[in-house]
Symmetry: C2
Subunit: 347 residues, 2 copies
């Protein structure tokens, strides 16, 4: 199962959380060392670490390092740190999922020393589960990719977005390893270019053939027959199969439907939110318009210009060919099939 | 009819063609003065002047200034300059249309002195026709915009793309002047950001409410009901109504169809190519991948990365609600109705 080029970008070094600063990629591989919840909050909010599974893991480690670097801590202090980290970003469910697991430990009534040990163990377990989930998703999903396929990817759903192996990109790695001749059309993913900066960087390292396209080229790439499958990640999946993912995902889903091209989202169970009945209920993070109006400090719009900058959009389940999760391929009827997965998870 | 804020960006000053360098906008309003066909070729190829009608006008002036700055010229030299300018960009038909008009004069058998006078007069006429055509398109098309509409625009089809008044943006100016409360969602238009750099600059000057979006946001803007009409320009329209326009136009057309939103293209008759039967026959310019891989000299992708960079895509006529031209609104059946317009033009 260890088929993919694991990207070690998120790991503990003693009582510090080391992360590869994704804002500096691809030009620089810079490691940040985080010692407390405020620093982890800042790293998540500023997208130094991003990707739904990765921010869940970073938050779980974040609680541990925050408390491990104190001589003493109270339960209230620990819960405050949990609340701070929960507020870093609103859309990805994995953040709330992993923090709920850590919060349960904090509220267990155990001694601070034991709680600290348990938080460490749980964070490690969350990270290990993520690696295992990537392998399982790749195992279930790589069959969807055929020899000769052109694959459209969006944003970064690779090793950098997870504990190291990826969600939708894990399927691509596995198909490539299996010898399938594939080509990935990497949506650059405006405004922050996670596709050209991060996914291309990963595919380049892994030797997978790819070409970067602007987001606006996906239509013509499908029209010409160059691409015949779309694979994306997810930040939160509702019980009816609607899901939030990086802005632009919804347009890809509509384009895929129009061209009769399969469109799959790939995400571990930690992305399914049992409290979100449908896409309308998912909170969408609005980010600073400056991300659209400037590039690297250079203004690209007139002085008075305003911009709209939702970080995510919601794709309704009727546009989704299937959801690849670590329990298998979920297909219609989504409400029934997701319930089975979520109920099993909650046991 | 003079309802719009004419942008004076393309004009003769003696024997020089003055153009506002669109590459420097919005940060700088820099005038270039061009004296020969090589300089005009360079300005068109490098997008210092761009937009299908504008490059047609620039080329018509370009032949004039090229010959006017010589003491003597031969017919062969004049035809060489025509050929050079024709080779500047392959997709927009207006370039070939206006150069064919100038070439006819060069081949008229008149004396060089008379030819020069006639080239001057014809270039001025082409420019005047363009201003008149903008006004007529605005008159025919502004009715398509209703009070309260949210309009998606793509690339720049404003004054800068024409002799000064615009194609699809001329409709927006007219609707705004008529007091309709509208809002324009300006697709930034990667890779060269003609939307955020140029269209936003024009709308800002004209006081039309707008908001810049990344190209990938058009889907969510339609899904939420914020936008209910799409207006774009065209670089070449085939006899069956298929048309080429800035990359990303095709995706917008598919999205509009899916959401049941009207999608119009706006272009003068000089954009209709009587020798192009359908979209498959339109040559699509491939530009340097560096436009996708760098911004302002800063690399945004890994060193070895490749990019795909078609400057245009083709939208099939079945996705088009109508074509607004200076003869009126053309609707289905496109082949019959376009033939009437083109036949009349060729008389």
């Amino acid at each position: 199962m260890s088929y993919v080029p694991v990207i070690r970008h998120l790991y503990l070094e003693g009582r510090e959380l080391a992360i590869l600063d994704q804002r500096a990629l691809p030009s620089e591989e810079r490691i940040m060392r985080l010692k407390n919840a405020e620093q982890v909050y800042g790293a998540i909010k500023s997208l130094a670490v991003r990707g739904a599974p990765a921010i869940g893991i970073a938050a779980a480690y974040g609680i541990y390092v925050h408390l491990a670097n104190k001589d003493l801590f109270t339960i209230d202090e620990a819960l405050e740190a949990v609340d701070l980290l929960k507020s870093a970003r609103p859309t990805a469910y994995n953040l709330f999922y992993t923090l709920a697991r850590q919060e349960k430990i904090i509220r267990s009534g155990k001694s601070p020393g034991l709680i600290l040990d348990m938080l460490f163990t749980e964070a490690k377990r969350i990270h290990d589960e993520d690696l295992e989930q990537s392998a399982r998703m790749a195992g279930f999903g790589a069959e969807l990719i055929r020899d000769g396929d052109g694959i459209i990817s969006h944003c970064n759903a690779g090793g950098l977005a997870t504990g190291g192996n990826g969600t939708s990109v894990a399927l691509i790695y596995e198909a490539h390893r299996a010898g399938k001749r594939i080509k990935v059309y990497v949506d650059e993913t405006r405004p922050l270019l996670q596709g050209s900066r991060l996914t291309a960087w990963e595919l380049e390292k892994a030797g997978v053939p790819y070409e970067i396209i602007t987001d606006s080229m996906a239509g013509t790439v499908m029209q010409s027959g160059k691409a015949n499958i779309v694979l994306v990640g997810a930040d939160r999946i509702a019980l009816n199969g609607d899901f939030a993912n990086k802005i632009g995902t919804y347009s890809l889903a509509v384009l895929a439907k129009y061209h009769g091209i399969p469109f799959y989202t790939v995400a571990p169970v930690s992305t399914f939110d049992p409290d979100t009945p449908d896409g309308k209920s998912i909170p969408i993070e609005q980010r600073d318009p400056i991300e659209v109006l400037e590039f690297a400090g250079i203004r690209t719009a007139p002085g008075g210009a305003k911009a709209y900058n939702p970080a995510f959009d919601v794709t309704p389940s009727e546009l989704v060919s299937g959801i690849v999760c670590d329990r298998g391929l979920i297909s219609c009827p989504y409400d029934e099939n997701i319930k089975i997965v979520v109920d099993r998870e909650q046991k």
